[in-house]
Symmetry: C2
Subunit: 167 residues, 2 copies
DNA sequence: TATTGTTATACTCTATAACTATA
DNA sequence: TATAGTTATAGAGTATAACAATA
């Protein structure tokens, strides 16, 4: 009960297993913390990192970007402005629709996000190495199942190939 | 490889298990998203929620609060200002040190954070119910082990009783 | 002198509303 | 008219540096 909303380890915890909810909440804070610290090493905020992240395999319009990141289009303008000022992304006029602007990673942007991602990935891997291989494999499988079940419950198929859509 | 930094499900994913890193990263985004949405229902930002969260079982000085939340003390001033303006916390002069100010949840603040926490907890529970009981128990145990191992690696004992300190 | 907290300032991030250009 | 994007504006959140009060 009473999940650790602050991301701070429970104090006065009895020496027992965490509740499932507390465990997942704490783990999420730990992992997001890793991401934020690695991003910060490259002077990237979480918002900038997410922007570069979605651009790794897409070249969306501002419009689409707002949908992907769950932000208002006016927020995207500023986010892309700052990234473009740093030379991490470029705006490209759309050939199909003269109102639209496509956003694309530059080589610098791709390098930066790849480096941050690699370090983050290493952090998570290191943490996972704290578990014996068998248990690590089990955890991974259960997490995948959990995500798949959750996505299904949300009407989304995690493993659906959506390449046909919006590329 | 290449974790989904954006918190967006992979597209073009083959119909296989996610990599351990991707799985944990995605799961963290899902869970943080649940927390943010539930907090937002009470007009709470993640920062405000974390503030109220740490105050649930502490009455720290501004100083201590900065340490607990990992923020600069000047950031705490504003955070507490806004919470106090809403009547969620109060500043109390320290009896022991006339420079210090203690921060304490009000009844309103406690109610608000409890409601948000309960809804968040329900979200995570619902997600976990997507797994059969046995697997759920296994996941919970592995997550606890993972956190304990990670905390140990960081020189922190998750289960240490720190009540003696800073209360 | 050192520590506690606030203030001044600047920047990022986000949203709403109004606007321009194109469809 | 509707949609794509920007601008104006406002507010939260964060940090650095300088400051006042107290230890």
């Amino acid at each position: 009960m009473s999940p650790r909303l602050a991301g701070t380890p429970a104090q006065a915890a009895t020496r027992e297993e965490l509740s499932p909810v507390d465990g997942l909440a704490q783990l999420s804070f730990v992992i997001m913390g890793m991401l934020e610290r690695r991003a910060a090493e490259h002077d990237l905020s979480l918002a900038q990192t997410r922007l570069l992240g979605v651009l790794r395999d897409r070249r969306p319009a501002m419009n689409e970007l707002a949908r992907l990141l769950g932000l208002d289009k006016s927020s995207i303008t500023g986010l892309v402005d700052r990234a473009e000022r740093r030379g991490l992304v470029v705006r490209v006029p759309s050939a199909a629709d003269r109102r639209a602007v496509l956003v694309s990673l530059t080589d610098d942007g791709r390098l930066l996000v790849s480096q941050a991602a690699a370090r983050f990935e290493a952090d998570v891997s290191t943490m996972l190495n704290g578990l014996p291989p068998r248990q690590r494999a089990t955890l991974s499988r259960l997490v995948s199942q959990l995500l798949a079940a959750h996505a299904a419950g949300q009407g989304v198929d995690l493993f659906a190939t959506v390449d046909a859509e919006a590329r």
